[in-house]
Assembly symmetry: D2
Homo-oligomer: 137 residues x 4
């Protein structure tokens, strides 16, 4: 299963050269993961982070910027799960504009106890949900 969020490039996203300022892509990536936790996994950031004192910080991210995006471009962010370990998991997020890939992000996140800032075993129910988004390749 692929998780998809649509996001249009807004004025706040573009720089003086008229293209998306890349730190804004990371906000879009973060928002995609946030939406996936809520709508895809049923465990929103308010429940997890604010009330539950857990978090899923990035351990590593690699991003390829394939082509620039401009004001008003409609982007489709598509997220799949590559791997779910004990406390970490790997995602691939691609941003498409029509049939062109604009950006490919490969991210490793870690499920942690936010108080101790220490990795914790991903709960079974969460792992099972994550695996429904795994892409078999």
């Amino acid at each position: 299963m692929v998780f998809r969020v649509d996001r249009r490039v807004r004025f706040a996203d573009v720089d003086a050269a008229g293209i998306v300022f890349y730190p804004r892509y990371f906000e879009m990536i973060n928002a995609c993961i946030e939406d996936w936790f809520e709508a895809g996994l049923g465990y929103g950031f308010d429940a997890m982070i604010v009330k539950g004192h857990h978090a899923v910080p990035l351990a590593n991210i690699e991003v390829d910027f394939k082509a620039p995006s401009r004001l008003d471009d409609e982007l489709a962010f598509k997220l799949v799960v590559n791997e779910v370990g004990r406390s970490s998991f790997k995602l691939t997020i691609k941003a498409w504009h029509e049939d062109e890939v604009r950006m490919i992000a490969r991210a490793v996140l870690v499920y942690i106890d936010a108080e101790k800032h220490a990795p914790e075993r991903i709960p079974e129910i969460l792992r099972a949900k994550m695996l429904t988004f795994q892409e078999v390749t």
Copy 2:
């Protein structure tokens, strides 16, 4: 030679969990590269992008987040050049807090004609300046 910029973690940088919100790290990375172009290479973004119609978009970036940063942490961003090709160049930027590495970014940027959005040969004078920041390893 290493290019260094000091940057303190401000309230705007931290999230509800009290640690740096990672899209803000990419703004810091961008600001470090911007400062390097100006103070290190003598070719500021105003001269290059706004007046000169060239740009240096990211083609690829890989970032390791080693440890979280909190409000008021003093970070030292240290930039070195790994390689300078025909139109692209590779940088490594590490963010240190005292003797702890918080973040390591490896980035590939491309020198382009911003109007055509096409790669262009890095001018010799710029290449020579870049190479003074090359780290021999």
Copy 3:
């Protein structure tokens, strides 16, 4: 007629105290005005600013923050026009959460030639569209 945009408070919007970081409200206000230009007035920022070399910078804004907003709060931004002058216009934007007003912004914007950065007469067709959003009080 009232122009309305719904916007949910996302993780990127909240600060270390768990409430909306106020500079983010101004991004939301800007996005509301951007959406109004496009969907309400039929003159989007890409047509106006990027291709048309006009802009509508803020001359003045006054904002009352009535109550804090938190992660996942659904906000409804409601925009009305108060007055349309020769080159400037006044708007009121209120952010509601259910039946509670969270924020009231009163803004004066100026229609300008972006190249000269000089005020220009609002075109009649644009003025007529703006007046359809005028609130009679």
Copy 4:
């Protein structure tokens, strides 16, 4: 006494029209107040908000944008206190570029218990410090 912070306009601050995107001004205003609390009042946001569970949210702000700011402009933010009440206080912050005022902000902030989100009497020691920045006019 006037509290002053210098801040240069960076690439991240400007929009597609090449001028400061106004939500970024509010980040600069916030950073100025944050620096004033720390360097001017000796009560930094980490001590007050993160460790002390108090906060100083904006109740009201009015901003006049006098002239646009562009990439690399050096801005001097100058803050004075207008009034200190029981739990609220009024500030004026002006952003200067050389001898031109670019922006004037008048802000009312409230000292609150962040847990209850309720106004609290400003501690005497803090009030006394604030009053050293009062401008007699």
